[in-house]
């Protein structure tokens, strides 16, 4: 049993490595992952002054969300279109392992994008991250949850434009409903309830917590648990959707 799991993880890692080589680490993907979040930040900042802590947490989360979902939304559907997905399906790998491998590639991509944004932004704005370890953990769990979200869109879509449209449909409302550059409490009470169903809310909250608090807080733990649940549920959902799509 343990050996089978280890074997699956290794295969998932190979798929992630291949995806990184084929799809991810190319200049346009980095640009797209950074460009839209920075533009959104500028749009928000024009509406009023935003504290540097909110900027650092919000922008880091947004960069991960856009970076991972943009490319992840394409990674599966493009392989389905070109027929290379059949190569993965014909190999002795479970569908969940394939999905996990795809998500891992997005996960690593998200980590790199977060590092590219977080450290320079914190230095420039003079923001001190009170607990860097908690920030790294929050980034890791956020990246996995966002990556899984991108795969849901990709698994469902038949064509690349459909995947991109679905991905936009999921992430743009999130930017406004998750209290990215505002305090969540500033949102109307109904929207605060909606925000609790969005992974971006927990990512921003966990990052804010690790920037502001030196120790683990109860909220931070809940945020990480929520991000973990999002990742698991979304990965399972992607597997189910793909199972139906290829039946």
């Amino acid at each position: 049993m343990v050996r089978a799991w280890a074997d699956s993880l290794i295969k998932a890692f190979y798929i992630a490595k291949k995806d990184a080589k084929v799809y991810y680490f190319k200049a346009p993907n980095f640009t797209y992952g950074l460009l839209i979040p920075v533009s959104l930040y500028l749009a928000f900042s024009m509406a009023g002054e935003i504290s540097s802590k909110l900027i650092v947490a919000g922008l880091t989360s947004l960069v991960m969300l856009f970076g991972t979902t943009s490319i992840e939304a394409v990674a599966v559907v493009l392989e389905k279109q070109t027929g290379t997905f059949d190569r993965l399906l014909a190999a002795p790998i479970s569908l969940f392992t394939i999905v996990l491998g795809k998500a891992l590639a997005g996960f690593f991509f998200g980590l790199i994008l977060a590092a590219v944004v977080l450290f320079p932004l914190a230095a420039v704005s003079g923001t001190i991250v009170m607990n860097p370890l908690l920030a790294v953990i929050a980034i890791a769990f956020s990246s996995m949850a966002f990556s899984a979200l991108g795969i849901v869109a990709s698994a469902y879509a038949k064509w690349v434009p459909e995947a991109q449209m679905l991905s936009n449909f999921l992430r743009f409302p999130m930017v406004f409903l998750s209290g990215t550059f505002t305090a969540l409490e500033a949102l109307p009470s109904q929207l605060q309830v909606v925000a609790r169903f969005l992974p971006l809310t927990y990512s921003v909250e966990a990052l804010r917590s690790s920037i502001a608090e030196p120790a683990v807080t109860y909220t931070y733990i809940l945020d990480i648990v929520a991000l973990t649940l999002f990742a698991i549920v979304l990965l399972a959902l992607s597997t189910k959707i793909l199972e139906k799509r290829i039946a």
């Binding site: 295969k11 291949k18 190569r87 014909a90 190999a91 002795p92 290829i246």
Partner: protein
């Protein structure tokens, strides 16, 4: 004889379309088994179910004694799959494509590189190993796809239309390779609509039409089953306006003119030949040549599927345009 692939009451339905209709057959270990049918007959759907790429609506498949649905990982470990359309990663080099394929099958690192080198050399791609597969010709991509399917030394190889659309050299290489693999004990399941290809390579063939299997047997036995219609091909020194006169002979079932020759479909050649000689004498004609033609596998296919010769001719012409069966 051990069974490599067993198919029981296999059915695949897409909405209202019945793509594969309750088919059953077995493939013996170590044989080249051909799966023949016109385009859209259900060949690719069947091969997808046999390789675990598509779930059957009903029925069961075992490959190397493992159920393809319930024990899919174990079944997939034992097979190599070459789909109808080459599916290598265009963005990766030939070498990386093979190494990645080996990684998916957990081939050990040192063996992985040895095997990749061996296969690239075998397929004449070693000099181009560092080039992106996207820059390869169709034939080279096909060879690379087959190499990737062989990286883990599978005991069973599924080839879906392996030579379709390829140049003569690549087609010949793939056919020779199929023979060599089979000599080394690999069971080959081959789908094709090139009937001559199946005749050359396969020890047994199944014929499928409109999702149903119409015959499973050795090519020679299938040909023999249509020998009730033998063909005599005859040419005369003056071939003008003879088709009708020949048709007026009581004996032939059918007469067709092919170039300067006439094909007479008869039930018994030994009885028909004297009649043709008499016909020539009575009409003051000289026989330039006279031959008996044995029924081909294509004749058997036409007979068994009920497809008109024109449909088969169209299939064949499409094939001839893209590959010569040397």
């Amino acid at each position: 004889m051990e069974i490599a692939i067993a198919v029981y009451d296999l059915t695949k339905q897409y909405g209202k379309i019945l793509a594969v209709d309750n088919i059953s057959f077995t493939v013996n270990q170590g044989e080249v088994f051909g799966f023949l049918g016109p385009n859209g007959a259900g060949k690719t759907t069947t091969i997808r179910m046999l390789t675990g790429l598509t779930r059957p609506t009903s029925g069961r498949v075992t490959v190397a004694e493992y159920d393809v649905v319930r024990e899919s990982i174990k079944a997939k470990e034992r097979v190599g799959v070459v789909p109808e359309v080459s599916n290598v990663y265009d963005e990766m080099s030939a070498w990386d494509n093979l190494v990645f394929a080996a990684q998916l099958y957990r081939v050990a690192k040192n063996e992985r590189e040895e095997r990749a080198k061996e296969l690239l050399e075998l397929f004449g791609l070693y000099e181009r190993r560092a080039d992106r597969a996207g820059n390869f010709s169709k034939g080279m991509k096909r060879r690379l796809t087959i190499a990737a399917a062989l990286i883990h030394k599978p005991g069973i190889l599924f080839l879906d239309e392996p030579t379709s659309g390829l140049d003569v050299q690549s087609s010949r290489m793939i056919r020779n390779l199929t023979k060599d693999l089979n000599k080394n004990g690999v069971t080959v399941f081959l789908t094709t609509h090139y009937i001559e290809e199946a005749d050359q390579l396969c020890q047994r063939v199944a014929m499928i039409n409109q999702g149903k299997i119409v015959a499973v047997d050795n090519p020679e036995k299938l040909k023999a089953s249509v020998e009730k219609h033998q063909i005599i091909e005859v040419s005369f020194d003056q071939p003008q306006n003879l088709e009708r006169k020949l048709a007026d002979l009581n004996y032939p079932n059918e007469v067709t003119q092919v170039g300067d020759k006439f094909r007479l479909h008869v039930r018994n050649t030994s009885e028909a030949v004297p009649l043709i000689i008499d016909f020539a004498r009575e009409n003051g004609l000289k026989i330039v040549s006279i031959n008996t033609l044995n029924p081909s596998l294509e004749d058997a296919f036409v007979e068994m599927t009920g497809l008109s010769p024109e449909v088969m001719a169209t299939e064949k012409e499409q094939g001839k345009k893209v590959a010569s069966l040397g």
